[in-house]
């Protein structure tokens, strides 16, 4: 293993220390670890997310004006703990409550639910919205369901903007759910990645092989195939997204009347001729940005063929898997409301415009 680290045990703390010094307008807290905007979200809804480390700039890089108010980084690829989330939410929540944006991985979901229970007991109004946009997984009955991928970034951006506009908690939670229903993603890997703790690649991938349908934790995908050209790979990912059928699953949601977590049947949109979309061509961490533009070139063509017009785009590393080489594509159907909120000013380490 060759890595820019000192001790494998210390990486998350040392990286957070550096992040704090580099971005003095953001505060970093330790024990429990979290990152937050100075002053919190006093008179508006607080937006909080979190997940394992190793996906930078997600989530800490999206803390700042117009996006997240706080983020909880876990150990590398390991969901953070409820007490981190509780402390982060407490630190930034004002009297308008807090929205938790949660990627659909068992650990993230369970820990955030426990944190939400603790916050509710503490008198804080909390909503918990799950992002599950990975079209590589077709079935939710015999799996943990679709994973949360790039749509998370758009949800954080759009909900952060809505908070700045003064929307109330229920309306922002509904917006977040809409973005999730409108967003679809799929990824692929050219190489595995190595966590500092394990010190060797999570899986072995031959020179002439690739993994299709990966998540963001260095876990293998749904299928291993022979390597293909950038255009062919883009075509596969884009077609899966654009031709994905309405996906029906149960998502867990707090029911205040019953006083328990209940399953709510939720159905995605499908892309239609004439739709507009926000696109992310996301590097997994080890792929040059130049190659991502090759993918974007083809993506625009495939989307156009389906009658979908890409009206905004992000091309770069937004939700990564350490040094894995590969790409994920996200398309979020954009209506006027989503576009307006997307275009609103944002000032975070990783996304900054309109200021």
């Amino acid at each position: 293993m060759k890595k820019l680290i000192n001790n494998a045990e210390d990486v998350t703390v040392e990286q957070l220390q550096g992040f704090g010094i580099a971005h003095s307008d953001i505060e970093v807290q330790f024990d429990p670890n979290f990152v937050n905007v100075v002053g919190g979200a006093k008179d508006r809804v607080a937006i909080v997310s979190g997940g394992g480390s190793g996906h930078e700039p997600l989530h800490g890089g999206y803390v700042g004006m117009g996006m997240l108010d706080a983020a909880c980084p876990g150990q590398v690829f390991t969901s953070p703990t409820p007490d981190q989330m509780f402390a982060a939410c407490k630190a930034v929540a004002g009297d308008q409550g807090v929205l938790q944006i949660v990627k659909n991985y068992t650990g993230d979901v369970l820990n955030f639910q426990m944190a939400a229970d603790m916050l509710r007991d503490d008198g804080i109004d909390v909503r918990n919205v799950i992002i599950d946009d990975d079209v590589a997984l077709k079935d939710s009955l015999y799996t943990a369901g679709r994973r949360g991928l790039g749509t998370t970034v758009i949800a954080e951006k759009v909900c952060g903007a809505a908070s700045q506009e003064g929307w109330d908690l229920d309306r922002i939670a509904a917006l977040c759910k809409k973005v999730n229903l409108y967003g679809k993603s799929m990824g692929m890997a050219l190489t595995s990645c190595t966590t500092p703790q394990k010190g060797s690649p999570t899986f072995d991938l031959g020179e002439q092989e690739m993994e299709i349908g990966i998540g963001i934790h260095g876990e293998p995908g749904i299928e291993r195939t022979a390597i293909k050209s950038a255009d062919e790979i883009t075509e596969i990912l884009a077609n899966h997204i654009l031709e994905d059928e309405a996906y029906t699953r149960n998502l867990s949601e707090w029911n205040a009347e019953k006083g328990e977590w209940v399953d709510v049947e939720t159905i995605d949109i499908t892309f239609e001729d004439g739709d507009e979309a926000i696109a992310i061509v996301n590097g997994m961490g080890g792929t040059p940005v130049s190659e991502l533009y090759t993918v974007y070139h083809k993506l625009a063509e495939v989307a156009g063929r389906h009658g979908v017009k890409i009206v905004r785009n992000l091309v770069g590393n937004y939700i990564t898997s350490l040094e894995m080489a590969g790409v994920s594509i996200t398309l979020v159907k954009a209506d006027d409301e989503i576009l307006r909120l997307y275009d609103a000013p944002v000032n975070t380490p990783a996304l900054r415009w309109g200021i």
Partner: protein, 219 residues
């Protein structure tokens, strides 16, 4: 460890529970790389580190008490606040759920321990929305709980009943190899999850084995 007339331990004391926790921490530290390796082909290569980190925190937080409920609650809270991932809330809920009826209890007989295992299983099922056959820790815990209840009902002493539970746990753990995962990260792999032993089923086996060893070793 108190002994019945025949010399075998009749009850699990608070101090035996403390030794169980210490032994679990030791065994999980020794098996850290093994558990993380099991979590590589069908997971994200962190289970051994998660469990080791969690039980190290448990050792720091373990109170100097013989109240079994208090001890197990401390285990739960340390795991919940230190492990993260899926295993943190699942093991945390397991111990939290099982600790609830044990507040103020300083000795557990076979019937109490059978109830403890049932509560533990119920906690994981509730939190994980999971059941037997899904290739998770429950495939170790459920047969172990059943085997213990059976052996205890048949009149086995604690050590023998725990031995039966560990044997059932081992078989359950191995039975995860041909299973297709339906919960947790391994479920994303579909058919490709077949042929690998579940890391959580393995850590559960190690923790149960630690309990059986502590009871068998007790002077």
């Amino acid at each position: 460890m108190d002994r019945a007339m025949g010399g075998a331990p009749a009850v699990l004391t608070g101090s035996a529970v403390r030794r169980w926790v210490e032994k679990s921490a030791k065994v999980l530290a020794e098996n850290r790389a093994y558990l993380t390796d099991l979590d590589s082909p069908i997971g994200d290569a962190d289970h051994g580190n998660n469990m080791d980190r969690g039980y190290k925190a448990v050792l720091e937080k373990l109170p100097e008490s013989d109240d079994i409920g208090e001890l197990l609650k401390a285990v739960a809270m340390a795991l919940i606040s230190k492990v993260g991932g899926a295993a943190g809330p699942l093991y945390g809920t397991l111990f939290l759920q099982a600790s609830k009826p044990l507040t103020g209890v300083r000795e557990m007989d076979g019937a109490a321990l059978a109830q403890f295992f049932d509560d533990a299983v119920a906690g994981v099922k509730m939190r994980g929305r999971s059941d037997a056959g899904m290739k998770t820790m429950l495939d170790t815990l459920i047969p172990a709980a059943e085997a213990f209840r059976q052996a205890n009902g048949d009149g086995d002493d604690l050590a023998a009943a725990l031995r039966a539970a560990v044997d059932a746990a081992e078989a359950g753990m191995k039975a995860t190899i041909p299973m297709r995962a339906q919960r947790g990260r391994a479920s994303y792999l579909g058919e490709r999850s077949i042929g690998h032993q579940d890391p959580g089923a393995t850590s559960s086996y190690l923790i149960l084995q630690a309990l059986a060893d502590v009871v068998a070793e007790a002077p």
